[in-house]
């Protein structure tokens, strides 16, 4: 009777394979997988099958940006698709890039988890005819056709100084609550902010503290700042973790409404503090616009409208005309300011 059991094993195996086959068919049938080659045929020469490859799926920031990309792609009649790994590990995107290479998509629009790890795979994709557009997070410049940058360091520094100046009446003591002491981005911004402060002689930067992008540390550092600088008028936190922690501290302290807080934050984190008056205005870029611009950038590269040379121009739908800068980079524009009037329109 042992053989009967073995037959049962085989039956289980067969059932599993059938389950897989069903899943495989289902996946291939109802998704846009087979649409990719068809789209290339219908759009004649230009293959407008554009795939967004975010750092990971299920991330509200990329959900927003990719939705912006989808809107743009629908406007110009391309095929939109989004794939991505479940976790944002350095290598996780590689197998997706390889798959897209095989599927011969027109363009891959990627936010890279690692500058280098995806490079070879992207080069292979480009050798196979796909265009590569990076957005949000760049790769090494020789691995892609175009980089859509959300904001320049100068723009980010300027908008934060402008906001704090406006909120404290262009005079008084301010402090900066940054991420870690060796965070490259933050340090570059802080340097530029100091330069920008030269235009505001009555504002005095009294301290820079580091919350290491940890919620509790940032919270404690905010408390310490207020104690050691009783005349403090404003805090700038150029990091999303820092600004949220500082807002949480301020919203329950006596300093609420007296000490201004601004910096870089995400609407979902900051909504309650904007609504309760702790924070008037903060900045970040608009990810939906970023995705939208990246999609139009992809189209422009696919159709040959731009070659990636400095000075090339292309039109990005409702956003208007853009010019390619040095290093095959396009900048979205000035950071976007979030305040009571517009914060409800965002969900990321």
């Amino acid at each position: 009777m042992k053989f009967g059991n073995k037959l049962r094993t085989i039956a289980v195996v067969a059932a599993l394979s059938l389950a897989f086959a069903a899943a495989g068919c289902g996946g291939g049938g109802d998704s846009s997988g087979e649409a990719a080659p068809e789209a290339s045929a219908s759009a004649e020469e230009a293959n407008l099958a554009i795939t967004f490859l975010p750092k990971n799926l299920g991330n509200p920031y990329f959900d927003t940006s990719d939705k912006g990309g989808e809107t743009a792609i629908k406007e110009f009649g391309g095929t939109y698709q989004e794939v991505g790994p479940a976790e944002a590990t350095p290598d996780a995107q590689v197998s997706y890039i390889n798959t897209l290479t095989q599927q011969q998509v027109g363009a891959i629009v990627i936010s890279a988890n690692d500058k280098q790890a995806v490079c070879d795979a992207l080069t292979e994709a480009r050798d196979a005819g796909a265009k590569v557009i990076t957005f949000d997070s760049d790769t090494n410049p020789d691995c892609r056709d175009l980089y859509v940058n959300q904001a320049t360091a100068e723009g980010i520094a300027k908008v934060q100084i402008d906001m704090i100046a406006e909120q404290i009446g262009d005079a008084g003591e301010i402090a900066i609550l940054s991420a870690s002491a060796n965070a490259t981005n933050q340090n570059a911004w802080i340097e530029l902010m100091k330069k920008e402060l030269a235009n505001h002689p009555n504002i005095k930067l009294v301290d820079t503290v580091y919350g290491n992008d940890k919620d509790q540390e940032s919270f404690d550092k905010t408390a310490a700042l207020l104690q050691s600088h009783p005349d403090l008028k404003g805090i700038i936190s150029p990091t999303t973790v820092g600004i949220a922690a500082a807002a949480r501290y301020l919203s329950t302290s006596k300093a609420k409404g007296k000490v201004a807080l601004t910096g870089l934050g995400t609407p979902n984190q900051m909504k309650e503090y904007v609504e309760d008056g702790t924070v008037k205005e903060f900045a970040l870029w608009n990810p939906a616009d970023l995705g939208y611009l990246a999609a139009y950038g992809a189209k422009a590269v696919i159709t040959g409208e731009i070659k990636g040379n400095e000075g090339d121009k292309f039109t990005a739908g409702k956003l208007g005309e853009y010019t390619v800068g040095p290093d095959k980079t396009v900048v979205l524009g000035d950071p976007f300011k979030f305040n009571k009037e517009n914060i409800d329109q965002f969900d990321f």
């Binding site: 059991n5 094993t9 799926l57 991505g84 095989q102 690692d114 500058k115 060796n182």
Partner: protein, 369 residues
């Protein structure tokens, strides 16, 4: 084993010499009708179905990418199989991949040659494995606890050494070597190394006294000790070997992606263990075979590859892999239970007697062992 040594009443009157062959199943049945072969069969079915259904699956390009993707998992799964068969586990392998990747990058960046950097990484792997091994054997701690500790320790060191930076300026010759294919076959050159190691591990596990000792330890460490197996030494050797192979996977990983980072291969330990268990190795030790594990690794790889090409999202791929794993574990438990109910040990298979009392006694005896 009990069935052979048990003083079973032989109802047959003629005095025939009792041989193992009379009691065991025929060779073809023992080789083909196993858990391992079921996985390999499933793998073949999946490949055939995917080639027919999924566009662009049945190409040499797919094959090349597939092998590149599974190589680090395949490498670590080889020693992991041996470790799990002894009833131990090593959860620190992925952290060791990250640590060796960082050491490899840092040593190369310091101006030393690539082979020196690789050697340094392998030495770190051996040291890390020795730490695990000594804590498990000399101190006598459970490997689960020890390697959860070193999982955090090795990853912490890796991220601590390089921080958020990465070493990426590896020479083109070496990074290309990690991806080059054998002629037009689409099979990466690195698979030759994997194949050699697979053969070595298979021979050691299945055809040497050392390998039999590994199974004996997994079934009962005490019994193995009394029958002359050097339990602690065997386990220590296995932990050192798995450390070295993890470091080797770390070097490959670094070269393939051209990037040495502290967070490389995060979470890979679970992929390795999942593949090993899917391949029919018992988490309690004492059971499993290497061809099943290789089949398990490839099955997960092929499934992921085919589903990606069919535009199934990563979450669904994870769900399907998870369900497959649970089903395979559950099915083997159920089958084992059914077989233990129905087995008639002690009765020569070629004699169809229905001796009810004997059956009962023998089943009980098997239950005790």
């Amino acid at each position: 084993m009990a069935s052979v040594t048990a003083p079973a009443p032989v109802p047959a009157p003629e005095t025939k010499e009792r041989r193992y062959l009379d009691y065991g199943q025929p060779l073809w049945r023992r080789v083909l009708l196993t858990r391992e072969m079921a996985i390999i069969g499933l793998l073949i079915v999946v490949i055939i179905v995917a080639s027919a259904v999924v566009p662009k699956f049945g190409t040499t390009v797919t094959l090349g990418f597939l092998f590149l993707d599974v190589t680090p998992i395949l490498l670590i799964a080889l020693p992991m199989t041996l470790v799990i068969i002894t009833g131990e586990i090593d959860l620190s392998v992925a952290s060791m991949v990250g640590l060796s990747s960082v050491i490899f990058g840092v040593v190369y960046q310091a101006g030393l040659s690539m082979p020196t950097a690789a050697l340094a990484a392998l030495v770190v792997g051996a040291v890390g494995g020795t730490i695990n091994g000594l804590l498990v054997t000399a101190v006598g701690l459970p490997s689960l606890a020890v390697t959860i500790g070193t999982l955090a320790l090795f990853r912490g060191l890796a991220v601590g050494i390089l921080g958020t930076t990465a070493v990426t300026n590896f020479p083109r010759y070496w990074t290309q070597l990690a991806k080059d294919k054998i002629g037009d076959t689409g099979i990466p050159i690195v698979m030759i190394l994997v194949a050699i190691l697979a053969v070595i591990f298979a021979v050691v596990l299945h055809f040497t006294p050392f390998g039999r000792g590994i199974y004996a330890i997994g079934l009962s460490a005490e019994a193995a000790q009394f029958s002359g197996v050097r339990v602690k030494r065997t386990k220590l050797i296995l932990f050192v070997v798995i450390g070295i192979i993890s470091a080797l996977a770390g070097i490959y990983y670094t070269l393939r992606f051209g990037s040495s980072r502290g967070d490389n291969a995060t979470g890979m330990e679970l992929q390795v263990i999942a593949a090993v268990l899917l391949g029919g190795v018992s988490i309690f030790g004492g059971r499993g075979a290497l061809h099943g594990v290789i089949g398990g690794v490839l099955l997960i790889g092929v499934l992921a590859s085919a589903l990606r090409l069919a535009n199934v999202t990563s979450d669904v791929i994870n769900i399907i892999t998870g369900v497959l794993l649970v089903l395979s574990v559950v099915s083997s438990s159920i089958l084992a239970w059914v077989q233990s109910k129905r087995a008639k040990p002690g009765i020569p298979r070629r004699q169809t007697t229905d001796d009810a009392p004997t059956q009962g006694r023998e089943t009980n005896e098997k239950g005790i062992t």
